[in-house]
């Protein structure tokens, strides 16, 4: 593959990673640590929301993020014709 295509592919990859890492940061550090006290004011069932994010929610979001990344990268590699 030529240099321009390789650079364009890499750029798209990086921007996808950055977008997903923002979500990663918000659910774990944001909801589970920094704003945990504020979110704890909201409850559902027996859970306080901040507590739930720190002990459950963040893990579920992590899972979704990895599979979304894997899926999007597959499409990206098809687009640039560099899939295996």
């Amino acid at each position: 593959m030529n240099k321009e295509a390789a650079e364009a592919y890499w750029k798209e990859n990086i921007s996808l990673i950055l977008k997903l890492l923002v979500i990663w940061f918000v659910v774990s550090y944001g909801c589970g640590i920094i704003f945990i006290d504020e979110l704890n004011a909201i409850t559902f069932g027996g859970f306080k929301l901040g507590f739930w994010f720190a002990q459950q929610g963040a893990i579920y979001v992590f899972l979704v993020l990895i599979f979304v990344y894997a899926k999007k990268m597959e499409a990206l590699e098809e687009k640039y014709d560099i899939h295996e």
Binding site: I33, A58, L63, A70
Partner: protein, 627 residues
């Protein structure tokens, strides 16, 4: 069947299974020994990664930590799962495309330096051994409590089992054994968790159950908690009554939780025995998906842990508060058989000090024993109710006035080692014998699977990286002078030595096993994570920058932990108030900054290295790994 026979049966069958798999999947080549031939299906690899990753610490200790810390335990839950997001996006696919066997391979080749390679090898060996020591302690605890054999005997048996499948099977044997161990482990954790969830909240799934309500009322010693109260609310109320801090509120302070979470996440992403698992998938795509599957299998356990932690905490208060010790441990209290209490007291992991002399157990915050960090030092003989005597300085029968006010006049009388929470939970809740028996098999599976993965990384580092690529390298061709056969033999010999050293550490545990875990994560975060990320994402990074970065991150983190953990450094002197467990985060930043600054002032890497970086960014052409 009797409990003891059931335990022997379950543990025996699981061990036979591991050995059977080892014989079926012997490794014949170095490639099979190091990376299982590179053709492991992503789901299978994910499962093996899960078992590799979830150690005795995850299985045995983590629920205890969360139970003790409440909300702040989230740092461990998020830290030890969030790293997989980083692995999937920033490390695994590129390292897979790079296509060698080990992390020092990458560091040495990318930075065209055998010095960098040697530093990496030393880190790998140090990180992995500190980790192995912890696993061996886990094996020892399970054996001594459940199989009623001597702890040392237990470690010999454990070493023997690992020896068979790691030395014979290499990565191939370890991978398939880990799949079996994952199944044993997850079954052993989930079954009691479901039982507990049904019992404590009448909900099938623990993940949902711990947001539910309790179907029973109980006396926390201060007040009656009604049935129909939300479990977490009941915990908050009774813990406040007893002078503990609220279960669902954060106390450690945002800053320290932040630092600890980061060190654990980056440490996870930088641990060599985890990274190497992604060399075993057939494709780059497979490496990404495999990280996802690994997290699926880990999350099945990790989302249950906080639920089990809260069930355990409420059961402790409900079952222990104000019960008559002699009747309790003799099983005379209906629906609350206390034989477990006596058993763990015999193992020295529970202690009772009848400070007010009423013959009943009281549970509240504060230390039950004076001196020795509040741990009981058991002595000969028994007290008035039959409890074990201790040689701790005799505390006055009344606690300090301050303690009394804080705990609503309840003086704490018990010491419970947090490591027993998971193991004792089914007994505390009075679950059937076979449920208790599988916990023993599960704990062993967790410890052995991780120990094997670590031992393999150690032996590979010695035979492949140190012997093959540094010491026995032909200076002219730059290739290893070891033949395939000799390298395989040396890998097996190194595995044998590593097992013996690990066994020695298990039998003569250094007194600081718990603290050294901070080392493993801190050093991985401060050394491997930045050096690999820079190697992939920053083409301009050169050998000078990488070496300076690695050394500064390592030396800083290492000295900080040594000073504050082992040399009695004063808490007041913490850098920005950061505890040693979280200092790896600062080490990581330091590494990045030093590496980038130094690389700016030194020549760029040669063209072929820049081409190599371009190449690992593109998935196509990821053949199987080569020498």
């Amino acid at each position: 069947m009797e409990l003891q026979s059931l335990i022997y049966l379950f543990v025996g069958v699981s061990f036979a299974l591991y050995i059977g798999i080892a014989i079926w999947s012997r490794a014949g080549t170095t490639k099979e020994f190091y990376i299982a031939g590179g053709g492991v299906h992503p789901i299978v690899n994910g499962m093996a990664t899960g078992a590799d990753w979830m150690s005795a610490a995850s299985f045995i200790s983590l629920a205890g930590i969360v139970s003790l810390k409440g909300s702040d335990g989230g740092a461990y839950l998020m830290g030890w799962t969030g790293g997989y997001v980083l692995l999937a996006m920033l490390l695994a696919p590129y390292l897979r495309k790079f296509g060698k066997f080990t992390v020092p391979d990458f560091v040495g080749d990318r930075y065209y330096s055998d010095f960098a390679r040697t530093v990496a090898v030393i880190c790998v060996i140090f990180i992995s051994f500190t980790y192995v020591a912890g696993q061996m302690r886990g094996v020892g605890i399970v054996f001594s409590r459940f199989l009623q054999v001597d702890v040392n005997m237990g470690i010999y048996i454990g070493m023997g089992i690992v020896f068979i499948y790691a030395v014979l099977g290499g990565m191939k044997g370890v991978t398939y054994t880990q799949v079996a161990q994952y199944c044993v482990m997850i079954f052993a954790f989930t079954v009691p968790a479901i039982f507990l969830s049904l019992q404590v909240t009448e909900t099938f799934l623990p993940q949902i159950g711990f947001g539910g309500t309790i179907p029973f009322q109980f006396d926390d010693g201060i007040r009656m908690i009604d049935s129909g109260t939300y479990l977490l609310h009941a915990l908050d109320t009774s813990m406040t009554d007893l002078g503990f801090s609220m279960y669902t509120e954060s106390h450690a302070g945002t800053w320290n939780v932040f630092m600890l979470t980061t060190a654990l996440m980056l440490g996870t992403a930088g641990l060599p025995h985890v990274i190497v698992r992604f060399f075993t998938t057939p494709t780059v795509k497979g490496a990404r998906i495999s990280a996802g599957w690994a997290l699926v299998f880990i999350a099945i356990l990790y989302t249950q842990i906080p639920a089990v932690a809260s069930f355990a905490r409420i059961n402790l208060i409900k079952n222990l508060q104000n019960v008559d010790y002699a009747k309790f441990v003799d099983g005379q209290i209906a629906g609350n058989d206390g034989h477990w209490f006596k058993n763990w007291e015999s193992s020295g992991l529970i202690g009772w000090n009848d400070r007010n002399g009423d013959g009943k157990i009281q549970f509240a915050s504060g230390k039950a024993f004076e001196g020795g960090k509040g741990k009981p030092k058991f002595a000969e003989g028994n007290g008035a109710s039959g409890e074990r005597m201790t040689s701790n300085p005799m505390p006055s029968h009344t606690a300090s006035a301050e303690d009394m006010r804080a705990n609503g006049k309840i003086i704490n009388e018990i010491y419970i080692d947090r490591d027993i929470i998971v193991l004792a939970n089914p007994e505390i809740a009075g679950l059937p014998n076979w449920v208790i028996a599988i916990i023993a098999a599960g704990g062993l599976a967790a410890a052995l699977s991780t120990a094997a993965g670590l031992l393999l990384v150690i032996s590979t580092s010695i035979s492949h990286d140190l012997l093959g690529n540094v010491l026995m390298k032909d200076p002219k061709t730059g290739k290893s002078t070891l033949s395939e056969k000799a390298e395989l033999l040396s890998a097996r010999a190194a595995a044998v030595v590593a097992i013996l050293v690990a066994g020695y550490l298990g039998i003569h545990p250094p007194g600081f096993v718990a603290q050294v875990v901070a080392f493993a994560f801190g050093l991985a975060a401060a050394s491997f994570f930045p050096v690999i990320i820079l190697g992939i994402f920053y083409k301009r990074m050169n050998k000078e920058g990488a070496i300076a970065g690695m050394l500064s991150g390592l030396i800083f983190t290492f000295s900080y932990i040594i000073y504050f953990v082992f040399m009695g450094g004063d808490k007041a002197d913490y850098l920005w108030g950061i505890a040693p467990t979280g200092i790896g985060t600062i080490g990581m930043f330091l590494h990045f900054i030093v590496a980038i600054v130094v690389s700016k002032f030194t020549p760029p890497p040669p063209q072929e290295i820049q081409d190599l970086v371009e190449n690992i960014r593109i998935p196509r052409g990821a053949g199987t790994a080569t020498h």
